[in-house]
């Protein structure tokens, strides 16, 4: 059976939950298919950070230094290049005989997975939410913006799977990993592999990214104006949550697009999603209906969001939100 290669995504040289989830899922697949697995990373992380993947069962970690990789581009202002990352993973997988590649279905993963597929000829199935049928090479993914689920049978020997974040819970499984440093220059990468590159990264806010958060408090048009979003932010603060927004309020310029949840925004699967003053248009539900628990607060008892909610209060967000913040704050203290 094919060996499995897991790409562990990092941000600022640190691994976050999507990487740990991918390692956990890779270990699960390897056990089911009686195969071997290894992890590849491309960053400037130190050994301690690389070893953090060992907590989730990674035994062999292949580390490509990002600065070394970037030096092959000949560009002085390069931060990173998706196409070069894809070239590294593709070339490494092919030369080392990995036939299955796992990638998180983050924005980054969504960009590199099809490039790796084109480079390697491996088939690709994206946004997977269930691997229980992997022994028969069958996986489950949402279709039509989450309105239904599709079972996909993989007929090829070699394939790439991208995993929806926050679906496969990272489970700790201590191991002492071996770190293998890979010289980027030995992977056959050249300046031509840097088709495009990022030269500057401007951080818009230091807030928790809505796509990575385990708890999200989202606001909609029911908040009546951007000046009232502090109510959402205060509840998010006591919950340790990220703040999200519906398309209507993003379109109105109340909140940045980076917070938009829904079909034209981000797809999220947190443990808890609190929808405040959001009616629950089908486009919004498409982005959050796979949340584990949904709490709705809306003054319209017929709002569609209540059909999707596990818990809800019919009432005025201007009264409910401060009361919830206070009540949860009491518990936390």
């Amino acid at each position: 059976m094919n060996k499995i290669l897991i790409f562990a995504e990092s941000k600022n040289n640190e691994f976050k939950s999507p990487a740990f989830e991918a390692v956990t899922a890779g270990k699960f697949i390897a056990e089911k298919l009686k195969s071997e697995f290894a992890v590849i990373t491309v960053n400037n992380a130190d050994e301690n950070h690389l070893k953090s993947l060992g907590k989730f069962g990674a035994k062999d970690i292949y580390s490509v230094n990002l600065d070394d990789l970037n030096s092959l581009s000949g560009k002085p202002d390069i931060k990173y290049s998706h196409s070069a990352f894809a070239a590294v993973i593709s070339n490494f997988a092919k030369t080392k005989g990995f036939g299955t590649i796992l990638i998180s279905a983050t924005s980054f993963g969504k960009e590199i997975a099809p490039v790796i597929s084109a480079r390697t000829g491996f088939s690709v199935v994206t946004d997977i939410v269930d691997l229980s049928g992997i022994e028969s090479k069958t996986v489950k993914r949402p279709s039509y913006a989450g309105k239904c689920y599709t079972q996909v049978k993989i007929n090829s020997d070699n394939f790439i799977l991208t995993l929806r974040p926050n679906v496969f819970k990272a489970s700790e499984s201590e191991s002492e990993p071996a770190i293998h440093k890979i010289e980027a220059g030995t992977l056959g990468i050249g300046a031509g592999d840097f088709k495009s590159y990022v030269s500057e990264v401007v951080v818009s806010s230091g807030k928790l990214d809505v796509a990575e958060a385990d708890i999200i408090v989202s606001g909609g048009r029911g908040l009546r104006g951007p000046e009232h979003f502090h109510l959402v932010e205060e509840l998010a603060a006591v919950l340790g949550a990220a703040t999200g927004a519906s398309r209507a309020v993003v379109d109105a310029g109340w909140r940045p697009h980076s917070e938009q949840v829904g079909q034209t925004g981000k797809t999220v699967s947190p443990t808890l999603y609190v929808a405040c003053g959001i009616s629950g248009a089908i486009q919004h539900l498409a982005g959050m209906s796979s949340s584990k628990y949904i709490v709705a607060i809306n003054k319209d008892k017929d709002a569609p969001i209540f059909q999707a909610a596990d818990y809800g209060i019919v009432g005025d967000v201007f009264e409910i939100l401060p009361a919830m913040t206070q009540e949860i704050g009491k518990l936390k203290s």
Binding site: S123, V125, T138, S143, G146, K147, C148, Y149, T150, Q151, V152, K153, I154, N155, S156, F159, I215, L239, T271, L272, S289, K292, Y293, I294, V295, A296, K301, F306, A308, A309, D310, Y311, G312, I313, V314, G315, D316, E319, I320, A323, M324, E327, I328, L331
Partner: protein, 58 residues
């Protein structure tokens, strides 16, 4: 009019093996009716209690 007179070349689709195939499509499992409270602010303590004790997420 020139475009209408331009001949259209007909080609047969390539017969490639399917690397992946959809074997089943189904709707998400029906979600049970949630617990929706209608007394406004007075229901907040009960909602928070359920989130803590039933859902165990706070």
């Amino acid at each position: 009019m020139a475009s209408k007179s331009k001949p259209v070349e007909e080609r047969q689709p390539l017969s490639e093996s399917n690397n992946t195939e959809i074997t089943e499509m189904k709707l998400p499992d029906a979600k049970g009716q949630g617990k929706i409270f209608t007394n406004g602010i007075s229901d907040v303590p009960e909602l928070v209690r359920l989130l803590r004790e039933e859902a165990k997420i706070i």
